[in-house]
Symmetry: C2
Subunit: 209 residues, 2 copies
């Protein structure tokens, strides 16, 4: 049986219920910890599920920042300094990753015990023990008129990948890396591979390879 | 051991290798089949991994369309008619979902054998047997100057969810629904739950609930 809501019906649900539902509709989401450091040298770490691929040549990533009346340290630090890191989450620290979203007074690294790593002279902190770490620099931001969401676009200046998860064709084995994915607001998963599929052509169902 | 690339080094990799690598960097991505119908009544179906949540009140989704020199039926159909559907993929038809990306002459529904479903007078076709189906209408598009990617924003007018995967708090159990997630360009997975975590507060590591 399928449950059906029209727009009017979903708007009549209570806001907690609707927020859970709407946040689950797109399916599994990428999960990254964004590391920043403000001009005073205070580091910050926060979980984001709205990071996506914008281009491969040159490599570009996009991040959506929801409008908030509360403070948005991550966005402000990036606008102030120009730099941030993206770090995959793995099961050994997925609780700490979620915990970085608490309302800490100082640095989330200090609060949660996650270890900051500085390398190659990059301004923002990486998360030590993350198997995929990107060092990124701000290109531009755009504010969406529809609801004041901010779309931030950035260059990928540094890529660090645990070699155990790097295949000879450049793709990453996220199962081996143990990358975590998130659904809704608070639910975490690892992936279980169904298969890689051949380049699709009419007339023949793509085979696993 | 971690492999490290600077931007210059990653640009020296061959384009196939770089494309695989860059497409894997954000982690697991949501997977949806987008169903459309052009003004002549020809249906279209295509896989997208760039669908994300933009707002809950009212519910809004965003989709990124990469710039292509090839034809972009999905985007053109939406701009022409104003309507489309989003449909979760499950393991029983993940190969057909991938196959919809082949260069079909007629409708991808006909080519792949996936069954189109019309209901509640909605203009665009849903994918029958998809456990989460959304009927959406165009709000606006923005072109990103950086690389001509098109960001499309849409209302969610209809939500259909298999009741077996709908929890009492409004969240969806994607493991039970068997929603598929994609990594890179061609690799498909289901999720294996680590846990849901309590609302994060300083001083106490969030517990599973």
């Amino acid at each position: 049986m399928m449950k059906h809501w029209t727009l009017d019906q979903v708007m009549e649900e209570d806001s907690f219920y609707r927020r859970n539902l709407i946040n689950c509709l797109s399916g599994y989401k990428s999960l990254n910890l964004i590391g920043t450091k403000n001009a005073e040298g205070v580091t910050n770490l926060a979980p984001f599920s709205q990071v996506f691929h914008i281009g491969a040549a040159p490599p570009l990533v996009g991040i959506l920042f929801r409008p908030h009346t509360v403070k948005r340290d991550t966005l402000e630090n990036i606008l102030q300094t120009g730099f941030f890191t993206l770090n995959h989450v793995i099961p050994t620290f997925f609780k700490e990753a979620h915990w970085t979203a608490a309302n800490w007074e100082g640095s989330e690294f200090e609060g949660t015990g996650l270890i900051e790593e500085f390398k190659h002279g990059f301004y923002a902190p990486f998360v030590k023990s993350s198997p995929v770490q990107l060092g990124c620099s701000l290109v531009e931001t755009q504010t969406l008129q529809v609801n004041q969401t901010v779309l931030l676009i950035a260059n990928v200046d540094h890529i660090f990948v645990e070699e155990i998860g790097l295949r000879s064709d450049g793709s990453l084995d996220l199962n081996t890396l143990e990358t975590v994915t998130v659904s809704g607001l608070d639910e975490y998963h690892v992936g279980e591979k169904l298969g890689r599929l051949a380049y699709p052509k009419p007339g023949i169902l793509p085979a696993k390879f």
